[in-house]
Amino acid sequence: MALLEISGLTVTIGASSVLTDVGLTLERGQIMGLVGESGSGKSMTALSTMRLLPEAARLSGSIRFDGEELVEASEKRMCELRGDDIGMVFQEPMTALNPLKTIGEQVAEGIRLHAGLSPRQALERAAETLADVGLPQSQFALSRYPHELSGGQRQRVGIAIACSMNPKLLIADEPTTALDVTIQAKILDLLKSLVQSRNMALLFISHDLAVVAGMADTIAVMRQGKILDTGPAHDLLRQRRHTYTARLAEASAHVPKKLTPPVFSDAPGAPDPLLAVRSLVCQYPGHRKGLFHKPEPFIAVNSISFDVLPSQIMGLVGESGCGKSTLARTLLGLHKPSSGSIDFDHIDIVNGGMQALREARREMQIVFQDPYGSFNPRHRVARLVAEPLHLRPELSKTDKRDRAAAALEAVGLKASDLGKYAHEFSGGQRQRIAIARALVNQPKLIIADEPVSALDVSIRAQVLDLLSELRDRLGLAYLFISHDLSVVRALCDEVMVMRNGEIIERGKADDIFNAPVRKYTRRLVNAAPDLQRVLAEE
């Protein structure tokens, strides 16, 4: 008898059906990867198993856990099972812990509830569990609060809570999506070793095929509330019998077509740089440590110099907090640097005053990460796309509209979309609108700050294709900022690796990925999930 057997599971919320006839089987001690793009119903399947669906949800079908039917189980019975026989780890380590309780209390709470121990005994057990997940009491006292821990450490606490009672089944819902790659690799290792040492079954949910490929014994692929494909991990990924699985696998390793040959700065006869940054330093005022201490400034960008050539795609890679977003803002004149110079197309951005900045911004635009937050929800597309034309007061209204229409068509949307609002478009389409807005002034350089990080893999591939095609057609240069190494490798000519405000390594994209020199870069490259590599290792 399998540990978890789901069959005919159907969930509806109101009139919309969230899950349709979902079935899967998970054996004891096994890891099953549940893969799908956003909205595919992965989390809903997990929450159904925990019976923690939103109240409006209606659930039918069968979920058998260890021979017991959960769909019929009483709330009281479910409370006994949750946290004892089934543990769950959630996606957002920043919000998944109660900010007002110590980590010791939060881990001990479940132990007290299920094991009936005294508060002191429960705390001792909590300390053991925390040590097992890599938070030994000697360094991480039980009296710490969640805000005193980093994202990765918080996720370890989340895992400790879920594993404290040695559950038979552990459900992990995108447990590493919010974390940096090097941390992600550590958390994945931790999960694997816990599952082995405690003989737990793991239902591992992720949008990232490469991550799942490295973890799971079996894989189930979901889309639009249905299971499309399921089987042993390596068969499923190698043979790709199902077209959707194949598409997903291809998209996650997608390399856009490039007509322009890569532009290298050390090539003989290289043109003058379009953007030249020299010894740039950016500081933020720090927090005061006491009444009589001067606040120490926080140095976000520490003496950085680099060039971007015309038509070059320059990648900038780094983990969260390394200063890459501050750098982008400073280049655009949104943040004043403490020292150094930025020369863009022979315009001095740092000391040139407002006039120079206006001139530079015509030729240099930005695409942001969040396809939802980058648009004023009250404006129509025509106005959104035309906004940078504010820099060209000489244009008439019809000129502006024509240019907006042309920009929309350049990114594969229709001029008739001008009258719509941003919320009428999907995430990928919104990102196209954001690119159109950046294009409307016919710039020479676009700073792309994590432009595909919020998108599903298939959409991501399309947007990367678009960016590459636009460079071929318009001769654009990009400063492409990302935490995702596979994307940077696929698109960029040259790459810079940033850490703690400094650029620690730079070079041609292939060189950096195939033969990284610095230890940190090597760690970064090795930690990045890579489907090809996982399949090759077998």
Partner: protein, 292 residues
Amino acid sequence: MSLEAGSVPDHVETWADFRSRAMRSRSLLVGTILVAIILCGALASFIWTPFDVTQLIIADRLKPPSSTHWFGTDHFGRDIFSMIMVGARNSIAVAFVAVGIGMAIGVPLGTWAAARRGIVDDILMRFNDVVFAFPAVVSAVMITAIFGPGQFNAIIAIGIFNIPVFARVARGAALSLWSREFIMAAQVSGKNAARITFEHIIPNIANLLMVQGTIQFSLGILAEAGLSYLGLGTQPPWPSWGRMLNEAQTMVAFAPHMAVFPGLAIVITVLGLNLMGDGLRDLLDPRLRRER
């Protein structure tokens, strides 16, 4: 929130959807009806009232409600129903102007503080804290001590109290908008802070200000009633709800109707405004919408 919950297709809403949702919102409907009743009474009083509120007919004094005098008469024989109609004018006018003062000063201050941050923000917010420490009654006491009682005092006192309220609401909402990417996109388009505030910030916080405005309006009605009860607001011979209650208090033993009706008028107005505010908030806040 997990990726999946966040990507439940966002409610693409047309104007027709919005209207039908507005019609279904019960609190908005009831609130609007209550406010409309009072408003109609106030407007009608300009051209017609059942009786003249300035005419004293001692023979008719302290009559209980009847078919002639629907809400009875007061100790000078004036018709209470007519007085409530005329009193509505005062209450609404005072509260409305006071909210206007609060918005006209508070919103620019709040959005300015959010746009400039730093020292400007610190100074404005400290100023806000100070003003906030003066409840309307206390300001009214001070103003009256210097300039003597009058309706104008009530307006100023309530208006001053509204300034920090609107400044705080506007600042908080504007600050959260300033960190949004579409504001950065506007900056990269070369727009300055003032222009961004008018084009992007104010239209996006207008909903919130409208909801707060309704709430402050209802608080203004209550405050005006309180001040004119103390004699610090509207002066005779103009009737006002608060003063009617003051006069009713001494007669409550033998003419309780004098106290009941003006009070009910206040309750209906305030209740109506609060229901409207709640309804509007539910209607305009997409976060609450999803929860339902």
